[in-house]
Amino acid sequence: MSEKILLVVGMAAVTYGPRMLPLVFLPGIRLSPFLEIFLKFVPVTVLTALIVPGIFNSTGQPLTAVIGAGVAFILAFKDQNLILVVLGAIFSVFLSGLIL
Protein backbone atom coordinates (compact mmCIF):
# COMPACT_ATOMS: atom_id res chain seq x y z
CA MET A 1 0.00 0.00 0.00
CA SER A 2 1.41 3.36 -0.94
CA GLU A 3 2.13 5.93 1.77
CA LYS A 4 -0.67 8.22 0.58
CA ILE A 5 -3.32 5.48 0.53
CA LEU A 6 -2.21 4.57 4.05
CA LEU A 7 -2.69 8.22 5.03
CA VAL A 8 -6.21 8.39 3.58
CA VAL A 9 -7.23 5.10 5.20
CA GLY A 10 -5.81 6.27 8.54
CA MET A 11 -7.63 9.59 8.30
CA ALA A 12 -10.84 7.74 7.43
CA ALA A 13 -10.48 5.41 10.41
CA VAL A 14 -9.84 8.13 13.03
CA THR A 15 -12.70 10.21 11.60
CA TYR A 16 -15.21 7.38 11.42
CA GLY A 17 -14.55 5.98 14.91
CA PRO A 18 -15.80 9.00 16.90
CA ARG A 19 -18.72 9.42 14.48
CA MET A 20 -19.84 5.83 14.87
CA LEU A 21 -19.25 4.77 18.50
CA PRO A 22 -21.82 6.94 20.36
CA LEU A 23 -24.57 6.62 17.74
CA VAL A 24 -24.29 2.83 17.68
CA PHE A 25 -23.62 2.10 21.35
CA LEU A 26 -25.33 4.84 23.38
CA PRO A 27 -28.93 3.82 22.57
CA GLY A 28 -29.98 1.39 25.27
CA ILE A 29 -27.59 2.83 27.86
CA ARG A 30 -29.35 4.86 30.53
CA LEU A 31 -27.76 8.27 30.86
CA SER A 32 -27.97 10.47 33.92
CA PRO A 33 -30.45 13.37 33.61
CA PHE A 34 -27.51 15.77 33.82
CA LEU A 35 -25.82 14.12 30.85
CA GLU A 36 -29.10 14.10 28.93
CA ILE A 37 -29.45 17.88 29.34
CA PHE A 38 -25.78 18.32 28.49
CA LEU A 39 -26.31 16.42 25.22
CA LYS A 40 -29.50 18.35 24.53
CA PHE A 41 -27.48 21.58 24.65
CA VAL A 42 -24.72 20.26 22.36
CA PRO A 43 -26.44 21.32 19.08
CA VAL A 44 -26.78 24.94 20.23
CA THR A 45 -23.31 25.14 21.74
CA VAL A 46 -21.46 23.43 18.91
CA LEU A 47 -23.21 25.51 16.24
CA THR A 48 -22.52 28.72 18.13
CA ALA A 49 -18.88 27.70 18.57
CA LEU A 50 -18.65 27.04 14.82
CA ILE A 51 -20.25 30.39 13.88
CA VAL A 52 -18.30 32.56 16.34
CA PRO A 53 -15.63 33.50 15.42
CA GLY A 54 -15.34 31.43 12.20
CA ILE A 55 -17.90 33.42 10.22
CA PHE A 56 -15.83 36.61 10.35
CA ASN A 57 -13.06 34.99 8.30
CA SER A 58 -15.37 33.26 5.87
CA THR A 59 -15.40 35.80 3.05
CA GLY A 60 -11.88 37.20 3.17
CA GLN A 61 -13.25 40.56 4.31
CA PRO A 62 -14.61 40.86 7.88
CA LEU A 63 -16.99 43.71 6.96
CA THR A 64 -18.79 41.81 4.19
CA ALA A 65 -18.96 38.82 6.53
CA VAL A 66 -20.67 40.95 9.19
CA ILE A 67 -23.18 42.19 6.60
CA GLY A 68 -23.84 38.64 5.39
CA ALA A 69 -24.26 37.43 8.98
CA GLY A 70 -26.69 40.27 9.68
CA VAL A 71 -28.78 39.48 6.60
CA ALA A 72 -28.82 35.77 7.50
CA PHE A 73 -29.88 36.62 11.04
CA ILE A 74 -32.75 38.89 9.92
CA LEU A 75 -34.03 36.38 7.34
CA ALA A 76 -33.79 33.55 9.86
CA PHE A 77 -35.54 35.62 12.51
CA LYS A 78 -38.39 36.16 10.07
CA ASP A 79 -38.60 32.38 9.65
CA GLN A 80 -37.65 32.43 6.00
CA ASN A 81 -36.89 29.21 4.16
CA LEU A 82 -33.35 27.96 4.85
CA ILE A 83 -32.34 28.10 1.19
CA LEU A 84 -33.46 31.73 1.08
CA VAL A 85 -31.39 32.51 4.20
CA VAL A 86 -28.31 30.98 2.54
CA LEU A 87 -28.84 32.65 -0.85
CA GLY A 88 -29.69 36.00 0.79
CA ALA A 89 -26.43 35.92 2.76
CA ILE A 90 -24.37 34.97 -0.32
CA PHE A 91 -26.01 37.70 -2.39
CA SER A 92 -25.50 40.39 0.27
CA VAL A 93 -21.83 39.46 0.66
CA PHE A 94 -21.42 39.54 -3.12
CA LEU A 95 -23.10 42.96 -3.41
CA SER A 96 -21.26 44.53 -0.47
CA GLY A 97 -18.01 43.16 -1.89
CA LEU A 98 -18.67 45.05 -5.10
CA ILE A 99 -19.44 48.30 -3.28
CA LEU A 100 -16.86 48.22 -0.47
Binding site: Y16, P27, K40, T45, V46, L47, V52, A76, F94
Partner: protein, 234 residues
Protein backbone atom coordinates in the same frame (compact mmCIF):
# COMPACT_ATOMS: atom_id res chain seq x y z
CA UNK B 1 -39.80 7.04 1.00
CA UNK B 2 -41.42 10.34 2.00
CA UNK B 3 -38.87 10.76 4.81
CA UNK B 4 -36.02 9.95 2.43
CA UNK B 5 -37.23 12.65 0.03
CA UNK B 6 -37.54 15.11 2.89
CA UNK B 7 -33.95 14.31 3.81
CA UNK B 8 -32.78 15.00 0.26
CA UNK B 9 -34.68 18.31 0.25
CA UNK B 10 -33.23 19.28 3.61
CA UNK B 11 -29.73 18.73 2.19
CA UNK B 12 -30.10 21.29 -0.62
CA UNK B 13 -28.63 24.18 1.42
CA UNK B 14 -25.76 21.89 2.43
CA UNK B 15 -25.09 21.00 -1.21
CA UNK B 16 -25.07 24.72 -2.12
CA UNK B 17 -22.46 25.26 0.55
CA UNK B 18 -20.38 22.13 -0.14
CA UNK B 19 -19.94 22.44 -3.90
CA UNK B 20 -17.74 25.57 -3.96
CA UNK B 21 -15.70 24.27 -1.02
CA UNK B 22 -15.28 20.86 -2.65
CA UNK B 23 -14.23 22.48 -5.95
CA UNK B 24 -11.63 24.50 -4.06
CA UNK B 25 -10.43 21.41 -2.23
CA UNK B 26 -10.00 19.48 -5.49
CA UNK B 27 -8.12 22.37 -7.04
CA UNK B 28 -5.90 22.85 -3.99
CA UNK B 29 -5.01 19.15 -3.93
CA UNK B 30 -4.18 19.24 -7.63
CA UNK B 31 -1.98 22.32 -7.26
CA UNK B 32 -0.12 20.46 -4.52
CA UNK B 33 0.46 17.57 -6.91
CA UNK B 34 -1.80 15.11 -5.15
CA UNK B 35 -3.25 12.70 -7.68
CA UNK B 36 -6.87 12.68 -8.78
CA UNK B 37 -7.22 9.18 -7.38
CA UNK B 38 -5.94 10.03 -3.89
CA UNK B 39 -7.87 13.31 -3.73
CA UNK B 40 -11.18 11.71 -4.67
CA UNK B 41 -10.50 8.73 -2.41
CA UNK B 42 -9.99 11.13 0.49
CA UNK B 43 -13.39 12.76 -0.08
CA UNK B 44 -15.00 9.33 -0.54
CA UNK B 45 -13.58 7.83 2.65
CA UNK B 46 -13.01 10.73 5.04
CA UNK B 47 -15.88 13.11 4.17
CA UNK B 48 -14.74 15.85 6.57
CA UNK B 49 -13.95 19.11 4.82
CA UNK B 50 -11.78 21.09 7.22
CA UNK B 51 -9.54 18.14 8.05
CA UNK B 52 -9.03 17.37 4.36
CA UNK B 53 -7.83 20.93 3.69
CA UNK B 54 -5.49 20.70 6.67
CA UNK B 55 -4.18 17.33 5.47
CA UNK B 56 -3.36 18.72 2.01
CA UNK B 57 -1.60 21.72 3.53
CA UNK B 58 0.40 19.50 5.87
CA UNK B 59 1.31 17.16 2.99
CA UNK B 60 2.60 20.15 1.06
CA UNK B 61 4.77 21.03 4.06
CA UNK B 62 6.16 17.50 4.09
CA UNK B 63 4.53 16.51 7.39
CA UNK B 64 4.63 12.80 8.26
CA UNK B 65 1.68 10.45 7.87
CA UNK B 66 1.30 9.78 11.60
CA UNK B 67 1.19 13.45 12.48
CA UNK B 68 -1.43 14.21 9.81
CA UNK B 69 -3.60 11.34 11.06
CA UNK B 70 -3.31 12.60 14.65
CA UNK B 71 -4.24 16.13 13.56
CA UNK B 72 -7.24 14.72 11.69
CA UNK B 73 -8.33 12.83 14.78
CA UNK B 74 -8.22 15.94 16.96
CA UNK B 75 -9.95 18.11 14.37
CA UNK B 76 -12.76 15.62 13.81
CA UNK B 77 -13.26 14.45 17.38
CA UNK B 78 -16.07 17.00 17.80
CA UNK B 79 -18.22 14.57 15.81
CA UNK B 80 -18.09 12.34 18.89
CA UNK B 81 -20.18 14.92 20.77
CA UNK B 82 -22.53 15.32 17.82
CA UNK B 83 -22.98 11.57 17.48
CA UNK B 84 -23.74 11.27 21.21
CA UNK B 85 -26.28 14.07 20.95
CA UNK B 86 -27.95 12.51 17.89
CA UNK B 87 -28.14 9.12 19.61
CA UNK B 88 -30.64 10.67 22.04
CA UNK B 89 -32.80 11.99 19.25
CA UNK B 90 -32.97 8.93 17.00
CA UNK B 91 -36.10 6.82 16.77
CA UNK B 92 -35.81 3.76 19.01
CA UNK B 93 -34.79 0.21 18.11
CA UNK B 94 -32.86 0.94 14.96
CA UNK B 95 -30.60 -1.80 13.65
CA UNK B 96 -26.96 -1.24 14.66
CA UNK B 97 -25.74 -1.87 11.11
CA UNK B 98 -28.00 0.89 9.84
CA UNK B 99 -26.82 3.22 12.62
CA UNK B 100 -23.19 2.55 11.73
CA UNK B 101 -23.96 3.48 8.12
CA UNK B 102 -25.77 6.68 9.14
CA UNK B 103 -22.86 7.60 11.43
CA UNK B 104 -20.51 7.86 8.45
CA UNK B 105 -22.44 10.91 7.23
CA UNK B 106 -22.26 12.96 10.44
CA UNK B 107 -20.67 16.29 9.55
CA UNK B 108 -21.10 19.72 11.15
CA UNK B 109 -23.70 20.49 8.51
CA UNK B 110 -25.75 17.29 8.43
CA UNK B 111 -25.67 17.34 12.24
CA UNK B 112 -26.99 20.89 12.36
CA UNK B 113 -30.03 19.93 10.29
CA UNK B 114 -30.66 16.56 11.91
CA UNK B 115 -30.26 17.77 15.50
CA UNK B 116 -32.50 20.83 15.17
CA UNK B 117 -35.25 18.96 13.37
CA UNK B 118 -38.53 19.27 15.24
CA UNK B 119 -39.61 15.65 15.41
CA UNK B 120 -37.92 12.36 16.18
CA UNK B 121 -35.16 11.51 13.75
CA UNK B 122 -36.01 8.75 11.26
CA UNK B 123 -33.22 6.74 9.57
CA UNK B 124 -34.69 7.33 6.09
CA UNK B 125 -34.51 11.11 6.61
CA UNK B 126 -30.89 10.95 7.70
CA UNK B 127 -30.05 8.67 4.80
CA UNK B 128 -31.41 11.20 2.29
CA UNK B 129 -29.74 14.08 4.11
CA UNK B 130 -26.35 12.36 4.19
CA UNK B 131 -26.57 11.03 0.65
CA UNK B 132 -27.04 14.34 -1.18
CA UNK B 133 -24.45 16.06 1.05
CA UNK B 134 -21.97 13.26 0.35
CA UNK B 135 -22.59 13.34 -3.40
CA UNK B 136 -22.10 17.12 -3.51
CA UNK B 137 -18.82 16.74 -1.61
CA UNK B 138 -17.40 13.88 -3.69
CA UNK B 139 -18.54 15.12 -7.12
CA UNK B 140 -17.39 18.66 -6.26
CA UNK B 141 -13.95 17.36 -5.28
CA UNK B 142 -13.56 15.36 -8.49
CA UNK B 143 -14.73 18.29 -10.63
CA UNK B 144 -12.39 20.69 -8.83
CA UNK B 145 -9.41 18.41 -9.47
CA UNK B 146 -10.34 17.93 -13.12
CA UNK B 147 -10.43 21.71 -13.35
CA UNK B 148 -12.52 24.00 -15.49
CA UNK B 149 -15.23 24.01 -12.88
CA UNK B 150 -13.93 26.77 -10.66
CA UNK B 151 -16.14 29.72 -9.82
CA UNK B 152 -15.05 33.34 -10.35
CA UNK B 153 -13.14 34.77 -7.36
CA UNK B 154 -15.79 37.25 -6.24
CA UNK B 155 -18.52 34.61 -6.24
CA UNK B 156 -16.23 32.04 -4.62
CA UNK B 157 -15.46 34.32 -1.67
CA UNK B 158 -19.13 35.30 -1.31
CA UNK B 159 -20.04 31.64 -1.08
CA UNK B 160 -17.68 31.23 1.84
CA UNK B 161 -20.51 32.47 4.01
CA UNK B 162 -23.00 29.84 2.79
CA UNK B 163 -22.60 27.18 5.46
CA UNK B 164 -22.33 29.75 8.25
CA UNK B 165 -25.55 31.35 7.00
CA UNK B 166 -27.12 27.91 7.12
CA UNK B 167 -26.01 27.47 10.74
CA UNK B 168 -27.59 30.84 11.56
CA UNK B 169 -30.73 29.89 9.66
CA UNK B 170 -31.07 26.73 11.74
CA UNK B 171 -30.05 28.19 15.07
CA UNK B 172 -32.13 31.37 15.19
CA UNK B 173 -35.62 29.79 14.86
CA UNK B 174 -34.74 27.28 17.55
CA UNK B 175 -33.50 30.08 19.85
CA UNK B 176 -36.73 32.02 19.31
CA UNK B 177 -38.64 29.13 20.81
CA UNK B 178 -36.46 28.42 23.81
CA UNK B 179 -35.17 30.90 26.35
CA UNK B 180 -32.86 28.30 27.89
CA UNK B 181 -31.20 27.67 24.52
CA UNK B 182 -30.84 31.42 23.96
CA UNK B 183 -29.06 31.80 27.31
CA UNK B 184 -26.80 28.84 26.52
CA UNK B 185 -26.02 30.28 23.05
CA UNK B 186 -25.03 33.62 24.63
CA UNK B 187 -22.84 31.80 27.14
CA UNK B 188 -21.22 29.95 24.23
CA UNK B 189 -20.48 33.21 22.39
CA UNK B 190 -18.67 34.52 25.47
CA UNK B 191 -16.74 31.28 26.10
CA UNK B 192 -15.88 31.02 22.41
CA UNK B 193 -14.53 34.57 22.24
CA UNK B 194 -12.48 34.03 25.40
CA UNK B 195 -10.86 30.95 23.86
CA UNK B 196 -10.40 32.70 20.53
CA UNK B 197 -8.34 35.42 22.19
CA UNK B 198 -6.57 32.89 24.43
CA UNK B 199 -5.56 30.89 21.37
CA UNK B 200 -3.38 33.83 20.34
CA UNK B 201 -1.29 33.31 23.46
CA UNK B 202 -1.45 29.58 24.02
CA UNK B 203 -1.21 27.10 21.22
CA UNK B 204 -4.73 25.75 20.77
CA UNK B 205 -5.83 24.22 17.50
CA UNK B 206 -9.21 24.88 15.93
CA UNK B 207 -10.26 21.30 16.67
CA UNK B 208 -9.51 21.52 20.38
CA UNK B 209 -11.05 24.98 20.63
CA UNK B 210 -14.43 23.84 19.29
CA UNK B 211 -14.46 20.73 21.50
CA UNK B 212 -13.48 22.61 24.67
CA UNK B 213 -15.90 25.50 24.05
CA UNK B 214 -18.75 23.07 23.35
CA UNK B 215 -18.11 21.01 26.47
CA UNK B 216 -17.69 23.99 28.81
CA UNK B 217 -20.78 25.79 27.49
CA UNK B 218 -23.06 22.74 27.45
CA UNK B 219 -21.80 21.89 30.93
CA UNK B 220 -22.64 25.39 32.24
CA UNK B 221 -26.05 25.07 30.58
CA UNK B 222 -26.67 21.70 32.20
CA UNK B 223 -25.62 23.13 35.59
CA UNK B 224 -28.11 25.99 35.23
CA UNK B 225 -31.01 23.99 33.88
CA UNK B 226 -30.90 20.77 35.86
CA UNK B 227 -32.16 21.19 39.42
CA UNK B 228 -30.66 19.50 42.45
CA UNK B 229 -32.94 16.49 42.22
CA UNK B 230 -31.34 15.91 38.86
CA UNK B 231 -34.57 16.43 36.94
CA UNK B 232 -34.64 18.38 33.75
CA UNK B 233 -36.12 21.86 33.83
CA UNK B 234 -35.66 22.43 30.10
Amino acid sequence: MEEFKNGIKAAIPIAIGYIPIALTFGLLAKSNEISFYITTLMSLLVFAGASQFVAVNLLALGTGTGEIILTTFILNFRHFLMSASLSQKMAENIDKKLLSLLAFGITDETFSIASLKKNELKPAFMLGLNLLSYLAWVVGTAAGHRGGAVLPDSLQSSMGIALYAMFIGLLVPSLKESSSETIVALITVIVSLIFYFLSKYISLSEGWRIIIVTIISAFIGALIYSDKGGRSRV
